[in-house]
Amino acid sequence: MTYTGNCDVYGAFHEDAINKVVHHVMHQRPSMFNYATFWFVEHLVELCKNIDAHSEVGLKNNPMITVEPLLPIVGTNYGLDFCLQVTELELDFHPSTNINLPPELNPPLKEQHLALRAKVCVGVACPDKDILDQYTTTEARPGGNDINDPGPRTALPIGKINCFCLEGIADCHVKMTGGPGAEEVSIALDGFEIVDIKPEGLENALECYIATTLRLAVLSKFKLALDFLTLTIEQIPMGLSLKPTPISPDVEFNPSVADDQLAVFMDLEVAP
């Protein structure tokens, strides 16, 4: 079997390799997967799941979490501390062997698709009832009466952090994005399903929220540039560049997800 029968350069990552890469990203860039209010910065042990971060994160003063605003108590200027953590992320390229699509996602996994399993843990810091009584007052908005501008929120004292975790499975496909010379392989999420939450509306809302969080906060940052997939071939001679091989009967998909791996096909071209 010849890899370069229809192209000049071929690069392929097995799903095991991609999952190891995901693990390294989670380990070295924890703030991409852990979101919480400021209080948690000083109280990392109170997070739902302990962050297993690379030593260089602390040594180089990189953040462990991305700080988010307080969860608003509507009608007031108060908010609750909370955390949201993507604690597990796993990919399974076609043919899917490790992740089974739920019925809602119309199994089996289609060709050129990949299954994604994510576990998200959320923690909400709820104040004690006794402390909350102190905050029962007619002046719910001490800052002002502008209905459209609540002003800065004040965190309510933390009593107990209530954590829960949800596991969801997504059906994804890969696509080539980016302009000429900056092509990247991106993962596009087609469908996301959380296992059995009632009522259904709650499940749908949570699925929407988590899927949107995954799309915008995680997958949008996790793009694989072509030169990474070809191990960044250096010293390409002057006047030459790598370009994706055009789609043709010989190269039906580029990138391609098949045989448990993600592959790209590229040609060396004379630069304009």
């Binding site: 010849t2 890899y3 370069t4 029968g5 192209c7 000049d8 350069v9 071929y10 690069g11 392929a12 990552f13 097995h14 095991d16 390799a17 190891k20 890469v21 390294h24 990203v25 070295q28 860039r29 703030s31 260089e56 994160v57 180089k60 990189n62 953040p63 940052k221 996790f222 793009k223 694989l224 540039a225 030169d227 990474f228 070809t230 191990l231 960044t232 071939i233 250096e234 010293q235 390409i236 001679p237 002057m238 030459l240 791996q261 060396l268």
Partner: protein, 304 residues
Amino acid sequence: MTEVTLAVSEAAFTNLFEGVRDNFTASKSDSKDFGALTAAYNVGVRLENGTVDMRDDNTVLIKELDIVYDPLSLTLGLDIPSICVGGQCILPTPWGCAIRLPRICVFESDPDIEVPINLDGVIRSEISGSFEVVPRHESDPGRLAAMSDLDAHLAGVPDKWNFYLDPEWLDIDVIDIADTVGNILDNAVDWIVDTLFGWLPSWARDLVDAILGGLVSVVRAILDFGDDVSEWLSDLFNVSFGLFDFIVTLVADYFAKQYPLFGFEEPLPLPIPNNGLNPILIPITDVTIAVSNTEAVITADVGA
């Protein structure tokens, strides 16, 4: 089960080879004293052309890689013999010579005459050889022992996996020495004779010619061209100067150790926006390469 696969076609491999080839330059100067003749040369060398043939035995055959000598200048220094008269015996006796006339020198050139000769484009030679593609995990010499992988990456001195063309054998063929070299060297001889003696009146030239046994012959004798000027020149550079051996060694060392065909950082940086945060580095291990007659295939694993 291979985690990472990278395959490069023969055409792409050739492009990579051309990048290495075009980066090669070398220069050398040397001189030798052959007695009445000294020869010195100055040469600049680069490589052009060449065909790349990948083979199923895991080797790459490179043929007809032209060596371009640019420049190639040869400087010949000749020790023209002094022209002296005298020394004859004017009173021979049965016991030997009773009176011998003193030797008086009438002509000397001091110091030796030097003749620079431009040999650009005169010599054509080619290198051919069989190579194994060898991966090497190399540390940057600028990397300090206390540096972590991240420190080294940020300092621009990361470790790398580099792939070199390690020659199994190399040989050099002198393909052609231009016929014009004969004319070039003939012109040199004529110039020497003309410069040294051209300004003498004809009778003096005739006398010097007779004393020396022919001015051109003397110069040619010192130069020792023989019948085949091309062979003389080839021997001068090949045997006397060892230029071709030097070039072969240089090319072998260059491909094997100095300039990799390609390489990548290890750990490999993930090209995602960092926005001031630590770059994400992915360890790559167990790198191998196999060459067939259609492509070169690199396999590796992502480290834990």
